[in-house]
């Protein structure tokens, strides 16, 4: 994959000095405090850090998908496909989300799917249609592309009737519906079982390659980064402390915090999911057990 961050002119997403300050109780929390970030078309980026380092807030700040927080300040320069997202009109922002812009998948697919609607309907909604015969084929295609079995049965199920992995695949199908140029994945596998984790990661990798879709993966798990990302940003306390090529950073971390993260994750975990014997390397198959 191309890792040329230097060629900033053609960047898909360019973030300069982004600050997201939240009001928590009476105090101001500087969740994101002056972050620079660049994503090239078709590139895959990882943002790593512990929980509370501000990585999720960064993603939501960029995409304007804040929820349940009181925003004290949001400033900086966020250019996506040449448009400034911090000053964009609501209608234009919605248009970007509806088609060809960006999508996002979340850590907790059960909470992020409406429990009272059939999953097929929820995918259809992202296509800008209701449950018409016209969108039906497209819905099934998307579910299949996200690694779910090609059956009309599944689309008629409710979220609670699916397994965790299947739900995350539904989220992926929803995200794909708008044919995004950039997909944000916020801890996409954290809530899943170990074997399912790997399958979902493989699906994401396949979609990234096949669709030439840029990806930003937010995770605390360096194994995920090793599997998916070309470049990495390491965040701590709302700031990027180190960034660079994944392989280089893994081999030769400059910032002590990055070194510590790598050290910790290699001790707790296998060196990476691609290591032999780490997990049965079943391809993302429709037969995923319920």
């Amino acid at each position: 994959m191309s890792g040329g961050a230097a060629n900033a002119g053609a960047a898909l997403l360019e973030v300069r000095d982004l600050k997201v300050h939240l009001r928590v109780g009476g105090a101001i929390v500087r969740a994101v405090d002056g972050v620079d970030l660049t994503v090239m078309p078709g590139e895959s980026i990882g943002i790593v850090g512990e929980s509370g380092s501000g990585k999720s807030t960064l993603a939501r700040g960029i995409l304007k998908l804040m929820a349940n927080v009181e925003l004290a300040e949001l400033q900086g320069d966020v250019r996506f496909q040449g448009k400034d997202l911090t000053r964009i009109a609501d209608a234009e922002l919605r248009a970007l989300r509806r088609h060809g812009g960006f999508s996002m998948i979340f850590q907790d697919p059960l909470g992020y799917l409406n429990p009272t609607k059939r999953v097929g309907t929820q995918v259809a909604e992202a296509l800008g249609g209701k449950w018409f015969a016209a969108t039906r084929r497209r819905v099934e295609q998307l579910l299949e592309e996200a690694g779910l079995p090609a059956s009309a049965q599944l689309a008629r199920r409710f979220p609670h009737e699916l397994s965790g992995g299947q739900r995350q695949r539904v989220m992926i199908a929803i995200a794909l519906a708008s044919e995004p140029a950039l997909l944000f994945a916020d801890e996409p596998t954290t809530a899943l079982d170990a074997t399912v984790q790997l399958q979902v990661l493989k699906t994401l990798g396949r979609l990234h390659r096949d669709r030439n879709m840029a990806m930003v993966v937010i995770t605390h798990d360096l194994g995920v980064v090793a599997e998916l990302c070309d470049r990495v940003y390491v965040m701590r306390s709302g700031k990027v402390v180190e960034s660079g090529d994944t392989v280089e950073l893994f081999e030769n971390p400059r910032h002590p915090y990055a070194a510590q993260l790598i050290e910790l994750s290699t001790r707790h975990r296998r060196p990476g999911p691609s290591a032999p014997g780490a997990a049965p390397s079943v391809p993302a198959s429709p037969a995923e057990a319920r």
Binding site: L63, L65, A67, N68, L93, R94, A95, L96, R97, R98, H99, S103, M104, F106, D108, G111, Y112, L113, N114, P115, T116, K117, Q122, E125, A126, G128, F158, H160, E161, M171, I174, A175, A177, S178
Partner: protein, 322 residues
């Protein structure tokens, strides 16, 4: 779903029996002469006393009396009112439909009002609009229904003469067809409105809280990420999911209204169960009082059961189970 139905039934039946038992037990503790307590302020001859004592097993121990009462209940026998000189069941059967009618019409106003106001004040971007509705709901909720009824009668019926002051219809009516219907609607308007103000604002408060809760859910973020407009999110996700708790609340309120519309019916002299209960209490006609209270208990338990089943049918998370 079947298992859920069975489970709820197994829960409801013992509850109902226990409620009736407690009611009968309380009758044991009435001070004074039990025969007099049953018939109310009504002269009792010795022969009559003997007949009642035998009929209701007053000389037998408590369990025998309870047993005979339950047997009578199962035969649809709620006892006999010596004040009204009619079987209690006849009185109930005559009054209950009127209460149901009033409650239904009240709900027709209250539910849409509550859903609309709750959703608007829960989703509005203007805190002023929200404050307005929250404060209005608070004050409206604090107005006792019976006082509101008095005020409505005073202003709209007495001074402006737009509505009749009381009752369900004129003493003598020659109206037919549509005009009969309009005449009835004319009489029910004020009591239904008074009922709806109270229940509607309560529903609005619950709906608003429910909407606020829904807005904090992850799937609202997903809906935003899909690029749906505000209106589409409210219609497609907020309204539906927030209404679910209201189904339970409104359903329970319906059951409670069947026995509890006492004050409302008294203000408007609406001849339903509530007014019957008040009349019976005033005349110390305990046979009728107990009959109505037990009927109200049955109505509440049955309706709550139906509401729970309805909720289960509406919420796929429960529907799928069992």
């Amino acid at each position: 779903m079947l298992r859920f139905v069975l489970f709820r039934l197994l829960h409801a039946i013992p509850l109902l029996i226990a409620v009736i038992l407690v009611i009968l037990l309380m009758l044991q503790f009435i001070p004074g002469d039990p025969v007099q307590a049953m018939v109310g302020d009504f002269p009792v001859s010795p022969e009559f006393r003997a007949a009642i004592t035998q009929q209701y097993h007053l000389d037998d121990p408590f369990p025998v009396r309870v047993y005979s009462y339950f047997v009578n209940l199962l035969h649809g026998d709620f006892g006999y009112s010596y004040q009204f000189q009619r079987p209690v069941w006849d009185l109930i059967a005559e009054s209950a439909p009127r209460t149901i009618l009033l409650t239904l019409v009240g709900f027709l106003i209250a539910v849409p009002f509550g859903v609309l106001v709750g959703t608007v004040s829960g989703t509005t971007r203007s805190s002023r609009v929200d404050h307005f509705w929250t404060s209005t709901a608070l004050v409206a909720y604090a107005i006792p229904t019976f006082w509101l009824g008095q005020l409505l009668v005073l202003v709209l019926a007495v001074h402006l003469g737009w509505f009749p002051t009381q009752g369900m219809g004129p003493l003598v009516s020659r109206a037919h067809g549509l005009s009969w219907f309009l005449e009835r609607a004319h009489y029910i308007a004020l009591p239904a409105l008074a009922f709806a103000v109270h229940e509607g604002t309560r529903f609005a408060r619950i709906m608003r809280a429910s909407v606020a809760d829904t807005l904090g859910q992850g799937y609202i973020v997903t809906a935003r990420a899909k690029g749906l407009s505000r209106g589409a999110i409210i219609r497609g996700h907020v309204l539906r999911n927030s209404s679910l708790p209201l189904v339970t609340v409104a359903g329970y309120a319906f059951g409670a209204a069947l026995g509890g519309a006492v004050l409302l019916e008294t203000v408007f002299t609406w001849p339903g169960l509530g007014l019957l209960l008040v009349q019976a209490v005033r005349m110390r006609d305990n046979m009728t009082v107990v009959g109505i209270v037990i009927f109200a208990a049955i109505a509440v338990v049955v309706i709550n059961l139906l509401v729970d089943l309805l909720y289960a049918a509406l919420d796929p998370r429960i529907r799928g189970r069992g």
